[in-house]
């Protein structure tokens, strides 16, 4: 029997992405986060609105950064059979390590994003905060 994994679905601009639930420390209102800790622009695209954020632990000196998204769509359980690694050719052509694979949602591949890697690679306007 396949193991179940929980993923977080979120939207940036017109596109939907997924991440491991445990990568998200919490969902926050962007208004509650200092501007210097926000990651607004990333390879995922530019959000239409700047209201919701996913707080992520960077695993660097206890820092947290907040990826600004348009919507957090919810948590979904998926089986291992629905998780796919990034195809080797695509992995070899990408310069970012933030795309870890795909999860099949409603028969379409949704990008699985490694949030800590994404916010480390694209700090945006974030400034360092003491641990």
């Amino acid at each position: 029997m396949s193991e179940a994994t929980e993923i977080l679905l979120f939207q940036v601009g017109p596109r939907v992405f997924a991440s491991a639930v445990f990568d998200a420390v919490r969902i926050a209102s962007v208004r509650d986060v200092p501007a210097g800790e926000l990651v607004v622009g990333s390879p995922l695209g530019m959000p239409f609105a700047r209201e919701r954020g996913i707080v992520v632990e960077t695993h660097e000196h206890g820092e947290q950064r907040t990826l600004v998204v348009d919507q957090v769509l919810g948590v979904r359980q998926v089986t291992d059979a629905e998780l796919h690694p990034l195809p080797a050719f695509a992995a070899a052509c990408l310069t970012s390590g933030a795309v870890s694979g795909f999860v099949i949602v409603d028969e379409a591949p949704v990008l699985l994003v490694d949030l800590p890697t994404l916010v480390r690679e694209h700090p945006g306007t974030a400034s360092k905060r003491a641990a």
Binding site: F89, A90, A92, C93, T95, A108
Partner: protein, 130 residues
């Protein structure tokens, strides 16, 4: 080349080179799409419901080479193949031979070179996340 398939809805990859417009699922497998036109500086192949792709295995890579149309299969005797033109720009860079049938010349791609060149151009330093 293993088969020609219909290209399903594309999922775009963030910060990917233009010749890698995305991935799609085929029989439960996630396949990367390679657009040769973009690789050689031509216009992108439009992705429509009618768009087809040839699935190609090149060493460790499996890619779907997207095309505007698939016209059929022709048999060309190996002994009749001619060497490609000596130009080293555009698509000529990726030809392995020129064949002929009753409709005229057919450019034959060196798919292994094409796929490897695409990968090398995407990550010139030899990096990547394979």
């Amino acid at each position: 080349m293993t088969e020609v398939v219909r290209v399903g809805p594309l999922t775009r990859l963030p910060a990917a080179p233009s010749f890698l417009p995305g991935v799609f699922t085929h029989r439960g497998e996630v396949l990367p799409v390679l657009d040769i036109g973009q690789l050689v500086g031509h216009a992108a192949v439009p992705i429509r419901a009618s768009t087809r792709a040839a699935l190609v295995h090149c060493g460790p890579w499996k890619v779907a080479v997207v095309s505007e149309a698939v016209e059929g299969l022709v048999a060309i005797p190996r002994r009749s193949l001619e060497p490609p033109p000596s130009e080293s720009s555009g698509v000529a860079e990726f030809l392995s031979a020129i064949g002929r049938d009753r409709n005229g010349a057919i450019a034959i791609l060196d798919l292994a070179r094409l796929v490897e060149t695409a990968r090398a151009r995407a990550v010139p330093s030899g990096g990547g996340h394979a």
